[in-house]
């Protein structure tokens, strides 16, 4: 990185010199190509600014008149703009995908609502008709009654799980009782399905905006899914804390852990969970931090700026 930067710097300085001595479009094309290369080498806009600054210091003759200097600075500014233009392309790309992601989030949230309702209402209705059918069979076939009672018991279990799932998906408990009880409810469901021991701790938040509460809920939901899918953990602790003007939420497991630095190297088929978490937080000015060591579990810490009187 350092070496490529030094090499680029030399080329940048000589191209800027060409630009200042009036080589016009061909110097600008060089500026563009250098910006293109810097981008490919993973440099950022600030690196470009630093490079420009150094090149300018090296390229401006000491003995020029103020008028000459002004002209050269003008040429230099065009040169600089040209070398930044490739970054404009990527910048617009990121902006587009950010908008797309945000949109996707909203669509997902609606989709979740729909599924929750389907689970809750339609599945419950179907189950109700199964109960009726069973009663009918029991009436016509007395010897099967014993057996059918067992089946009914199983159906009761299924109904309970479906209800729980639908409430987890669309936690009205969140609106009615607040974040902490909703997280406890979520944890109960995960424990019932996976056997994972989950402890939820924290002070109940006064007046969290619905947006903030839903965001935190979804993040904990994804984090717990990750724990059950990847961590091989036996215990998880979820903690919510209010610090001065920040809300802190930690999800910590005692599982296998993983090498966090390997995440950024993965492209292509990498998961969306952590990216989604970051994206949700971005829109609230918050940020995630992931601490994990192979063999020593994983902790995800979320911080979000927050004031008591916050309204969404």
């Amino acid at each position: 990185m350092r070496e490529t930067m030094e090499k680029l710097q030399d080329q940048y300085t000589s191209a800027l010199r060409n630009s200042i001595v009036g080589m016009g479009e061909s110097a600008l094309q060089q500026a563009y190509e250098l910006g293109r290369r810097a981008l490919a080498d993973g440099l950022g806009v600030l690196d470009m600014a630093a490079m420009y600054h150094k090149a300018l210091a090296a390229g401006l003759p000491r003995d020029s008149t103020p008028e000459e200097t002004a002209l050269m600075l003008e040429a230099g500014a065009s040169f600089f703009a040209e070398s930044l233009s490739p970054f404009e392309m990527t910048h617009r790309g990121f902006r587009d995908s950010n908008i797309a992601l945000r949109h996707l989030n909203q669509t997902l949230e609606q989709e979740i609502k729909r599924i929750a309702h389907a689970l809750h209402d339609e599945a419950a209705q179907l189950l109700a008709s199964v109960y009726l059918a069973l009663d009918e069979v029991a009436g016509n076939l007395p010897p099967a009654r014993e057996h059918l009672l067992k089946v009914k018991g199983l159906l009761d279990l299924i109904e309970g799980q479906l209800r729980h799932l639908s409430h987890e998906l669309r936690p009205t408990i969140l609106d009615d009782w607040g974040l902490l009880p909703a997280l406890k409810f979520l944890a109960e469901g995960v424990t019932a399905r996976t056997g994972l021991f989950i402890k939820v701790e924290g002070e109940s938040a006064p007046s969290l905006s619905p947006l903030l509460a839903t965001t935190l809920y979804r993040i904990v939901q994804e984090a717990l899914t990750n724990v059950t899918r990847h961590a091989k953990a036996t215990q998880v602790k979820v903690t919510i804390q209010h610090e001065l003007q920040t809300l802190r939420c930690s999800i910590k497991d005692n599982g296998v852990g993983f090498d966090v630095s390997s995440l950024s190297a993965r492209t292509g088929e990498r998961g969306l969970g952590l990216i989604g978490i970051r994206e949700r937080l971005n829109s609230l000015g918050g940020s995630p931090s992931l601490v994990s060591t192979p063999g020593h579990g994983t902790e995800l810490v979320i911080t979000i700026p927050y004031t008591n009187s916050q309204e969404a």
Partner: protein, 133 residues
């Protein structure tokens, strides 16, 4: 109104000539300087693609008018191998040459209008427009 210009694209020097024409026309029509830069960027990207994938081609630069809007259209065409899968080529990061795959989607974002026609028999034509602000 200013005339159109056609620049044959074979080498890097031709890219400079095409950019030069684009910038001249932009200045003549009173484009703000950042938009001239974006136009030059788009020309560079299309010209690079011509040289890299088709070896030869040409870039036409012409003023356009629509109602009381004025702008510049750039047509980059070649008789090269064409693009097999256009939606794929328009995706960020897709490249058949180990590049960043930034060119085509980047140009589309910088311009107001973008149109790509390509097939194996006739080669590739990219038409873009930038309106004066």
């Amino acid at each position: 109104m200013a005339n159109e210009a056609v620049v044959t694209i074979n080498t890097d020097a031709d890219v400079v000539a095409a950019r030069q024409k684009g910038r001249e026309l932009a200045t003549e029509l009173g484009f703000v300087s950042t938009d001239s830069t974006l136009l030059a960027t788009a020309i560079s990207e299309l010209a690079r693609n011509i040289i890299r994938y088709a070896k030869h081609g040409e870039i036409l630069i012409a003023p356009v008018q629509s109602g009381d809007r004025v702008g510049i259209t750039v047509v980059a065409r070649d008789k090269g191998p064409g693009i097999a899968n256009i939606p794929l080529a328009m995706q960020d990061g897709f490249s058949t040459s180990g590049g960043l795959g930034l060119g085509l989607p980047g140009v589309k974002r910088l311009m107001d209008e973008f149109h790509l026609v390509s097939d194996a028999n006739t080669g590739t034509t990219v038409t873009i427009k930038k309106w004066k602000r």
